[in-house]
């Protein structure tokens, strides 16, 4: 399973030095743990990183999810980034939220806003240690709904309104930067400010269904350059999840952690309990184990061979000779992997242009790796995104589209 990784000789961890060099060798527990609670989602965004849509019958039960939280508390994982799918469509979502907070595991969750009515917004505003991120991929309904589906802008902004009205503090608007919205950064900022929220922008990766639209949606080189300047000017007030560190090769390093944290400080627990090196790397090659196995999550995090391999600094490959390697680090492993590029070479969006030439030089016969998982809706979905030229369809009967159809408890 580890053959995919370029050979990284095991090296002993240095003492002292920069934090980032320490992070390369991994930590005893993750800092940035993403936990996707379900593959079910009411939407069908064209770029969904986890190809979500339908619930997986093997998803962790409430009791199993509680056991994971107990373990995270023991490992002192102080907060988790909860996502999906759409996590709030899990009937036990609110229970798990309280359970986590009650066990010293803070929750930051991402949602499309579908369940955030006034009552839930007020509940969240009363709860400590919870952070909410509303996903929005266009500052206008036109741009947003093309990728996230008709009506999704209205749903998200309604949720933002409810949160603002309830007096919720520090909630976020989370934007994936695409070719279509890259020109809207100032508008995003204004929209976010109008709700008293904070803007978070992250990078589009060719993961999940994102692979199908990456060519069409990833920002152009000119847009990357503008984004870089915008981040230098506005970075202080905007969160990025440190996801744009490959842009550091334009010159000055961007603030934050400039390194691929996969398996080192980052990982994903997926809805069925599988542990991957990164939420953008749902592929067998990056599967380290399952929380249901003996020893649980801790065993996987601390003992898996895959993670041990990822916790060695990269010493070879074209990028190590690049003058920007120290800040760019060769970019995103998942972006390289799913575009069929070597993991020790340049990022497909390398700002020095080496990614473009590497993409052009790919074997025409090359089949890019695909995830073994796909939970995409198989039938039509209300408000289908139109980016791919599919006509919008009228709403179907509720039981045809509810990701939880047949699952209603009680």
């Amino acid at each position: 399973m580890t053959a995919v990784l370029p050979s990284r000789p095991a090296v002993e961890r240095p003492t002292g030095g920069r934090l980032i060099d320490q992070f390369e060798y991994g930590l005893d527990a993750p800092i940035c743990l993403t936990w996707e609670l379900t593959y079910a989602c009411n939407l069908a965004c064209v770029h969904c990183l986890s190809s979500s849509g339908r619930r997986d019958p093997r998803e962790l039960s409430t009791a199993e999810a509680e056991a994971v939280i107990d373990e995270l508390q023991r490992m002192q994982v102080f907060y988790v980034n909860v996502g999906g799918g759409e996590p709030t469509v899990r009937p036990d979502f609110w229970h798990l939220l309280d359970y986590a907070i009650g066990h010293d595991v803070g929750v930051k969750f991402s949602t499309n806003g579908v369940k955030l009515d006034k009552v839930r917004a007020a509940q969240l505003a009363r709860t400590d240690y919870v952070d909410v991120q509303i996903s929005l991929d266009g500052a206008t309904a036109e741009v947003n709904d093309r990728v996230r589906g008709a009506g999704s802008f209205a749903t998200a902004t309604k949720a933002l309104e409810n949160l603002a009205e309830a007096g919720m503090k520090d909630f976020k608007v989370s934007v994936v930067v695409t070719r279509e919205n890259a020109g809207q950064l100032d508008e995003f900022k204004a929209l976010t400010d109008s709700y008293g929220a904070q803007l978070r922008i992250t990078r589009l990766r060719p993961s999940g269904r994102g692979a199908d639209v990456w060519e069409q949606l990833h920002p152009t080189m000119a847009q990357q350059k503008d984004l870089y300047s915008w981040l230098l000017a506005n970075g202080e007030h905007v969160l990025t999840g440190d996801s744009f560190f490959h842009l550091s090769a334009f010159g000055e390093a961007l603030p934050g952690l400039n390194l691929c944290g996969a398996g080192r400080v980052v990982c994903l627990i997926d809805p069925v309990g599988d542990v991957y090196a990164c939420p953008f790397a749902i592929h067998e090659d990056f599967l380290a184990g399952n929380v249901r196995s003996p020893g649980g999550f801790q065993q996987v995090w601390q003992q898996s061979e895959l993670f041990a391999d990822l916790r060695n600094p990269q010493t070879g490959g074209a990028c190590t000779k690049c003058q920007h390697f120290d800040s760019c680090r060769g970019g995103c492993m998942a972006a390289k992997f799913f575009t069929g590029l070597p993991l020790d070479g340049p990022d497909p969006e390398c700002v020095q242009g080496y990614g473009e030439s590497a993409l052009a030089a790919r074997d025409t016969e090359l089949v890019t790796p695909r995830s073994h998982l796909d939970h995409s809706h198989t039938g039509p979905v209300r408000g289908q995104p139109t980016l791919l030229g599919m006509p919008a369809i009228p709403p179907a009967k509720i039981c045809d589209e509810s990701p939880l159809a047949g699952l209603q408890l009680g």
């Binding site: 003492t15 320490q22 930590l27 005893d28 002192q76 603030p255």
Partner: protein, 107 residues
């Protein structure tokens, strides 16, 4: 990744502001702060501000953990045998931690 502010790794920019940190006062790890041991030192988390920080040496971890046992921060540095030459660096690290509310004065 969230952007953790590595309080204890800032060295040049951190000007010690006595109004924020006076090493001659009694200090302690803030009550809503937890330390998670790591191979290089520790991760520091503030449950209230939800900020992450890092202690880059085991000695600094010891200093922070034992602040509460000593009448002053300076006394804690001495007890942890921080070499004289490194003391200003440690004081700056503590000042950073005070600024981000990771440590607080005792009353």
């Amino acid at each position: 990744m969230t952007s953790p502010a590595p309080a204890s790794s800032t060295t040049d920019a951190a000007v010690t502001d006595p109004s924020v940190f006076d090493p001659e006062l009694p200090w302690q790890r803030a009550r809503s702060v937890a330390l998670r041991p790591e191979p290089f030192g520790a991760l520091v988390y503030h449950f209230g501000t939800r900020k992450l920080s890092f202690l880059k040496s085991k000695t600094l971890v010891r200093v922070v953990e034992t602040l509460a046992d000593h009448p002053t921060a300076t006394a804690a540095l001495l007890a942890c045998e921080v070499p004289e030459a490194q003391r200003p660096t440690y004081v700056r690290a503590l000042a950073d931690l005070a600024r981000s509310q990771m440590i607080e004065t005792r009353t």
